[in-house]
């Protein structure tokens, strides 16, 4: 097998992984031809290919931990301690069936995740006056 197809298939894997960060709305817009994708390259900050994937935490455990917490503050600390970058946070959101927008920054995605795992229950308890 020649070298070129191997590099190309690796590139396609990267593209596929990058596409996971797109929201359903983004995908629909691109598919409908109303938006276009722009590809650029940048320094990989010294990481070898595949290093990022190895660092992705177990979302199942993380989600279960978030749902077991009792305050937004502890949930926020847990996410901070997990040290997820924007891409990983978007993947975590996707695992929660939670849409993110291309304009969402890390703080906004964290807030969405916290609301979906623990915040909504705190809100409900507050309105229903449950301790």
């Amino acid at each position: 097998m020649s070298k070129k197809p191997t590099s190309f298939s690796t590139l396609l894997k990267y593209l596929s992984k990058a596409a996971e960060c797109l929201t359903d709305e983004d995908i629909a817009e691109v598919a409908a031809g109303r938006r276009r994708l722009i590809l650029t390259t940048q320094e990989a900050f010294g990481r070898s290919p595949g290093a990022e994937a190895k660092e992705i935490p177990d979302f199942g455990v993380l989600i279960a931990s978030l749902k077991s917490l009792e305050t937004r503050e502890t949930a926020h600390k847990l996410l901070e301690d997990a040290a997820l970058n924007r891409t990983q946070l978007a993947q975590l959101a996707r695992a929660l069936d939670l849409p993110t927008q291309g304009s969402d920054n890390v703080a906004r995605i964290q807030e969405k995740i916290i609301e979906t795992t623990i915040g909504f229950r705190l809100t409900s308890n507050a309105i229903q006056k449950k301790g």
Partner: protein, 313 residues
């Protein structure tokens, strides 16, 4: 005969469309359904009759407001005297060959004033008198519905206003079940929480007063939430879009019963159907979009019937 209140604290969630289409679909399936419009906006009423018809034939003496007023004036008319059969939907049902029936007790734009009147009747010189007044005022509708022959209808659907005033409490005291239409968005799902809290407080207070009343005629109440039906859905690939799904899931996670079926937003059909007096679900289907709308109402109605089976007989 079962009695179900349709309510959400939050307005604009499609409550009246749900009531009208559910009632019409059940009638089409052969059930005898009475709709009771308790919302002062009278949207359900005007979904079946034109305002000028309402003004000429019903406004003065034949609305639920007139019934509340008549009790205050000690000249109570039976609610059964207020029931009528809207002609356009009746024609549609008859042409389908069903044995079902769809009747209505209309509302009145002045119904909001009834709440103020009822509130003045809650006073008493002693705690015992206050409790007796509370029960008398809150049981008005439950008592009034006894004038209806229970073998005449399979179901009474009460379209409640988006508040928790005394008229609404009357509806809930009279009901065995509560149906909650809701939009899957942040503020609408907060409305579900408000409603849950308010219903719980009402049941606790009412049953406390009923227990101390000591009369077997005043039995405790226990209206059950039949389910939350999500409305105004924007679908994609056969399911709500991603932005809506978290709110549906959260409602399920809070332990509330949620109907699997949902109803889509479609202004082409829902926006103008009321002015012709026949709910969308009874119209002839002309295209795929309309078939989807009708199929969703049918699916929801099937689920509703199954859920009704869990209520007390």
């Amino acid at each position: 005969m079962k009695i179900v209140s349709v309510i959400n604290y939050k307005g604009g969630v499609g409550k009246t469309s749900v009531t009208a289409n559910l009632a019409a679909e059940l009638a089409w399936r052969g059930q005898r359904v009475l709709m009771l419009d308790m919302d002062a906006q009278a949207s359900l009423t005007f979904s079946f009759i034109k305002p000028e018809e309402w003004l000429e034939q019903y406004a003065e003496r034949k609305t639920i407001k007139a019934w509340f007023d008549s009790i205050s004036e000690s000249q109570a008319v039976p609610i059964s005297d207020l029931i009528f059969t809207p002609s356009r939907v009746e024609a549609s049902l008859r042409s389908s060959g069903t044995q079902g029936r769809l009747d209505l007790v209309p509302s009145h734009l002045g119904l909001i004033n009834v709440d103020l009147e009822l509130a003045t009747q809650l006073s008493g010189g002693t705690l015992a008198q206050v409790k007796a007044s509370y029960l008398r005022v809150h049981r008005r509708l439950a008592e009034g519905l006894r004038s209806i022959d229970h073998s005449s209808y399979d179901l009474i659907l009460i379209d409640c206003p988006p508040n928790f005033n005394i008229v609404t409490k009357n509806a809930l005291v009279a009901s065995e079940g509560i149906l909650i239409p809701a939009k899957p968005d942040y503020l609408s799902t907060l409305g579900i929480d408000y409603l849950g809290r308010s219903v719980r407080d009402l049941v606790t207070e009412y049953n406390d007063f009923a227990a101390s009343h000591g009369s077997p005629a005043v039995s405790p109440i226990d209206p059950k939430i039949i389910g939350v039906v999500f409305t105004m859905i924007e679908p994609r690939s056969g399911e709500p879009i991603a932005a809506l799904r978290p709110f549906i899931q959260r409602t399920k996670d809070l332990g509330l019963p949620v109907f699997q079926s949902w109803l889509r937003e479609n202004k082409n059909f829902y926006a103008d159907a009321p002015q012709y007096g026949v709910p969308v679900v009874l119209l002839d289907t002309a295209n795929d979009a309309q078939r989807s709308v009708v199929r969703e109402i049918e699916d929801f109605s099937t689920e509703f019937i199954a859920a009704m089976g869990t209520l007390h007989p």
